[in-house]
Amino acid sequence: MTISYSSCAIAWRAILARPYFTSLVTVVLLLLMFGLGSFAYTGFFSLQVVCNLLIDNAFLLVIAIGMTFVILSGGIDLSVGSVLALTTMVSAYLLQVWHWPALSVMVVVLLLGAAFGAFMGMLIHFFKLQPFIVTLAGMFLARGLCYLISINSITIDNLLYVAMSQTRISVASAFVSPSVVIALLMLALAIYLAHYTRFGRAVYAIGGNEHSALLMGLPVGRTKIAIYAFSSSCAALAGILFSFYMLSGYGLHAQGTELDAIAAVVIGGTLLTGGYGYVAGTLTGVLILGVIQTLIAFDGTLSSWWTKIVIGALLFIFCLAQRLMSLGAERAGNMPGNTPAETSKVQATARSAA
């Protein structure tokens, strides 16, 4: 009896100590919420509801993927929502006023996004500025540039864009939009980048401890600039998807999306201190945010502000869980993931202060 108990406890601790434990919890939570919806509301349990989740949140998924890399490296990018809006605005202007071909507009917009991110990355790296304040300024800049182009919304009637917004790709009994395919391809690319390339390993190393990454001879500067360029081009891609979705360019598009993206990344199990987390977890985070909105829409009596309250509560629970687990791990003596990085950070600051 006692043997089985202790072996049970050991097995439990082994599961707890697994690096993917938080991600596992998130998946269970997602299934629970979906199950709850299926029981409570008729018509909730269908493939189309799942597909709609993806259709409505494709742009958020792409943004959150970029944000995951930034947060993994220990930084933050507040400019993504504004870059999205700027992208819709620039593409609408180029398409409607200058009559550029759609494909070249997309290429130009993606390049602009990458350049914008690289610029912020350079400021952060070369001048040792705080990512928070630099991307905050980037956020103001991108929103302001939107209004410089036009204060009003510009409708897009380009054939390719309309086609992209109306095409339905059937999946079994349901359908998805092309945006979903693009977003999922992006996710696959991001998983490959994060876990199977040198770039990805450098991102994790910088997030764990930038100083040690530098001492290990990793290209810290190049990687950091690339991370912000990647995040901004993800935001630009999300902007293209968003303009498929809305068929317009507008400076007020996607306000506060950066917070949704950060929330999705955190709920997906990535630590905000950096160096720990999975890109795939971000998909779960985005889907959880989507399920909350769907649940509230299905209920009909709950008002939209409940979304905010529930997202806040979920954020709190996840942060609490992450914190308690890392504290428990510290006490148990085996420190997975963040804790060695944190302690060494503290030691490093103590040393530099001394």
Binding site: F126, A137, R143, L148, L272, G312, C319, L320, V346
Partner: protein, 360 residues
């Protein structure tokens, strides 16, 4: 011999003294924010006719400068609170949400129902105004305690700890008002944001009182020193015997209290409470004001005067852009360029680069 040498030495020092004082002045941390404000005001002086004219109408002072001060009042309050938080290496991005909550609570409790008084319809408060204001500030206080407990008690990262309230806070405020904008009809409440005392806007007196209170706390007690110590090195500060957790809790509570007062001012000024838009992006402006004032986001040394000057710079910039007839949307672009420049000027790497460029 030695006396003459001494006198020579002193004379030499005397000759150098003005230069050194000049150097000290050049290196004073407040120089850059004040210079930026001065440049802005100079531009206004030349481009906006009658910018510095102040008139006395019905015992109130009117003029552009007064207007800038008056409109900057909520931002100055928020920036004062934010300064302390940033000095401890923290950040509070829930300021806007706290503004919404405090404004909503006050507006709901005051409201204003029509009461017939001697045959004349009058608006009466639902609740004595003092209680309503206290309740609103109490709500803000609770928000601060929540933030502080998350940061100091649980050890969450400040950005993420306050992000929770930032996301949920507006939702809570909307829950209270059922998504409606609540209009206030009770006259005395408008005094807070739009009243005049001794010819000056009443809001300025609140800011001044807060500033004096903080300055005394920071200069005359050890609190300022402790806050700096925590910001420079939290571990060392704790080992030195400072009660870090209590101190961090205090700064977040104080920041939320300032935000709550700013919320009262804003809702009194617009005579209503808008849970969705009141104080939108105020947290970012407050952080910006603190950074403009020369306080580093890395914590440690802070300047209260700097933050007030920073808030004035932001408001003066907005005012200038509006009165020059530039579309108000450009404001954001200008603001972002200013942030980039100020951050760069604070970066030692950039200074080294520019000085080496100047030399070569």
């Amino acid at each position: 011999m030695s006396a003459s040498m001494n006198s020579k030495l002193f004379a030499g020092q005397d000759e150098r003294a003005p230069a050194r004082r000049w150097q000290q002045l050049l290196q004073h941390p407040l120089l850059r924010p004040v210079a930026a404000l001065a440049v802005l005001l100079l531009i206004d002086l030349f481009l906006i006719p009658g910018f510095f004219r102040i008139e006395l109408k019905d015992g109130h002072l009117y003029g552009s400068v007064i207007d800038i001060f008056n409109r900057a009042a909520p931002l100055m309050l928020a920036a004062l609170g934010m300064t302390l938080v940033i000095a401890t290496r923290g950040i509070d991005i829930s300021v806007g949400a706290v503004v919404a909550i405090a404004g909503t609570v006050a507006a709901m409790l005051i409201g204003g129902t029509v009461v017939m008084h001697n045959g004349v319809p009058e608006y009466a408060s639902n609740m004595p105004m003092g209680w309503a204001l206290a309740a609103a500030l109490g709500a803000a206080l609770l928000c601060g305690v929540w933030n502080g407990l998350l940061v100091a008690g649980l050890g969450l990262q400040p950005i993420i700890a306050t992000l929770i309230l930032m996301v949920a806070g507006r939702g809570l405020a909307q829950l209270l008002t059922d998504g409606q904008i609540i209009t206030v009809y009770y006259q005395p409440f408008f005094f807070l944001g739009g009243g005049y005392l001794l010819g000056l806007p009443f809001s300025l007196f609140i800011v001044a009182a807060m500033f004096v209170l903080l300055a005394v706390l920071m200069r005359k007690t050890a609190l300022g020193l402790f806050i700096q110590a925590v910001g420079i090195n939290p571990v060392a500060a704790r080992l030195a015997g400072i009660r870090t957790a209590a101190l961090i809790l205090f700064v977040y509570v104080f920041c939320s209290l300032c935000a709550g007062m700013a919320g009262l001012m804003i809702s009194s000024n617009i005579k209503s409470a808008d849970a969705n838009n009141a104080g939108l992006l105020l947290e970012l402006d407050a952080i910006l004001a603190v950074t403009l004032g020369g306080t580093s986001l890395a914590g440690g040394k802070f300047s209260l005067v700097g933050s007030v000057v920073g808030a004035l710079i932001i408001q003066a910039l907005t005012y200038t852009i509006y009165s020059l007839g530039v579309p108000p949307e450009v404001n954001m672009v200008v603001k972002s360029v200013v942030v980039f420049l100020v951050c760069l000027s604070q970066s030692p790497e950039f200074r080294r680069l520019s000085s080496s460029l100047v030399k070569s």
